[in-house]
């Protein structure tokens, strides 16, 4: 496929986490020194990545490799120690209005009904009530939640809860969708349905066209993406970027093609080198 303008540029991003060490010695605990009480964990090491407009990029990697951290840095929820992220050529310092975020554990507000959860972002922007209800209603329809407007999250299944999460993100009409293992908490069947739903929604919602999708599910990454970035174990670096050649619109049928199976095997072998080293 032809590549458009660069939408997101990740330039040499590194991140070190500093955590307090639990001191074993009682005296040390009473008289701590800075050097003793800090543990530094290098989460990300010099990651660079360009994502083009209308591109769907997945990030896969072993547990704890910092893929979620990377996504949060791209969104501006946390700051990188080194390097920078540009979206539409502008440096990210805090969450930008053109980005939407979906959380693995849904992050719905239990005291808000479905429609009020979906309208949350619009409410923060102080969109008038009548207008935000109308816009929320549109996205309720898009994600197939008609009839559940006034239900509360605890009354919904996991799949439906993440539909609310998707609609809430889409309601602020973002150009860039950042998704942190959005279907990771769902059972296998629901997950597959949600993946196909996401493909359908992206076809309809054509202004929301650039996606970064963190997952540990290789089939999911291949089914949805144009490119897949494989990360190394911690400290996370870019190990390989795999092009996924299937054209859009896609459906489940691509999963049975020999190319898909070959790509999946290749991805798994690449990732496995990192996984086994984590285990051993």
């Amino acid at each position: 496929m032809s590549k458009g303008a660069i939408k997101i540029a990740v330039e040499g991003v590194s991140k070190v986490y500093r955590t307090e060490k639990v001191e074993e010695s009682f005296v040390r605990r009473l008289l701590p020194s800075r050097r003793d009480t800090e543990i530094q964990v290098k989460a990300l090491d010099d990651i660079s990545l360009q994502i083009y407009e209308k591109e769907f990029v997945s990030i896969v990697g072993p547990s704890g490799c910092g893929k979620t951290t990377l996504l949060r840095i791209i969104h501006g929820l946390i700051k990188a120690d080194n390097g920078q992220v540009l979206i539409n050529d502008q440096q990210v310092t805090e969450p930008k209005p053109e980005c939407g975020f979906v959380f693995q554990d849904f992050g719905l507000y239990p005291w808000r009904s479905v429609i009020d959860n979906i309208a949350f972002g619009l409410e923060l922007q102080q969109v008038e009530r009548a207008e935000r209800m109308e816009r929320a209603q549109h996205f309720i329809k898009l994600v197939g939640l008609e009839g559940f407007e006034s239900s509360y999250p605890h009354q919904l299944s996991g799949g439906m809860q993440q539909r609310v999460g998707l609609a809430r993100m889409l309601a602020i009409e973002p150009q860039v969708l950042l998704m942190d293992e959005p279907f990771g908490a769902l059972d296998a069947q629901t997950k597959r349905i949600m993946q196909l739903e996401l493909l359908r929604i992206l076809q309809v919602q054509s202004n929301a066209n650039t996606v970064i999708f963190v997952t540990h599910d290789l089939e999911e990454a291949l089914l949805l993406s144009d490119r897949v970035m494989v990360m190394t174990r911690r400290p996370g670096r870019c190990k390989e970027i795999v092009e996924v050649p299937f054209s859009h619109p896609r459906d489940e049928a691509v999963m049975d093609t020999p190319e898909f199976i070959a790509l999946r095997r290749h991805l798994w072998q690449t990732l496995r080198e990192e996984q086994t080293e984590v285990i051993s």
């Binding site: 929820l77 992050g107 923060l124 509360y152 009354q155």
Partner: protein
Amino acid sequence: MRVRLISLMVVFTGWWIASLFGSDLTVPSPFLVISNFIELIVSGRLPTALSLSLSALAIGGTVSVVIGIPIGILMGVRRSLALALDQYFSALYVMPMSAIIPLMVLWFGFDLSARVIFIFIFTVPQIVITCYQGAKNTPTTLMEVARAFRATERQIFWKVIIPYEIPFIITALRLGVGRAVQGMVVAELLIAGTRGVGFLIHVYSASLDLGSVLAIILFLMLLGIVFTGIVQWFEQAVAPWRKGVVGEMESGNV
């Protein structure tokens, strides 16, 4: 409902059987207690005493709520405030309150203000601590979602922390009412000078009228149940979503 009724009948019967083995001085029968209770009401003694007691309860309780809830929430939001105040409220909470009665009398005398302040000191730690725990433990994911949607700090406070806090405020009210009623009776038993409910208990126990003492105690228990019922009704009205998520919220995994 049926279980409650059966439970009440079993306790009542047990009490009645126990009273057959004792005298009215040691174990008055439930029927005597009920007739004493009716007499206390009809003669107007209990209502009069109650009206005297309730003013201290109402003022002390209201002040505790009005001051305690904001302090608790602010402590949950501002760590420095929590570090500055937490230890005092924890200390007050576990301190045997009857020990400070002499101080109350020395400082504030025997009038209403002494009892009001006592009820306040007795009630406010419970309210502060409950509200503090709720606000402090607002799940970070819920706050992060708001940040991801570009909420300001102010919006996070009013649209995430406060709604999450509401069930804790209600719990604080429920526990606070209990503490305030206890404080009211303790204050009257130990600070002479009012003719309230505590005083009435004092008088009847001095004249060994155990039936009337028990009648008043039962009445106080009923009062507690009524107050708790009102708070529960209030909870249903303001936080109907809570019923299904209480467990999840308390384990912090919403």
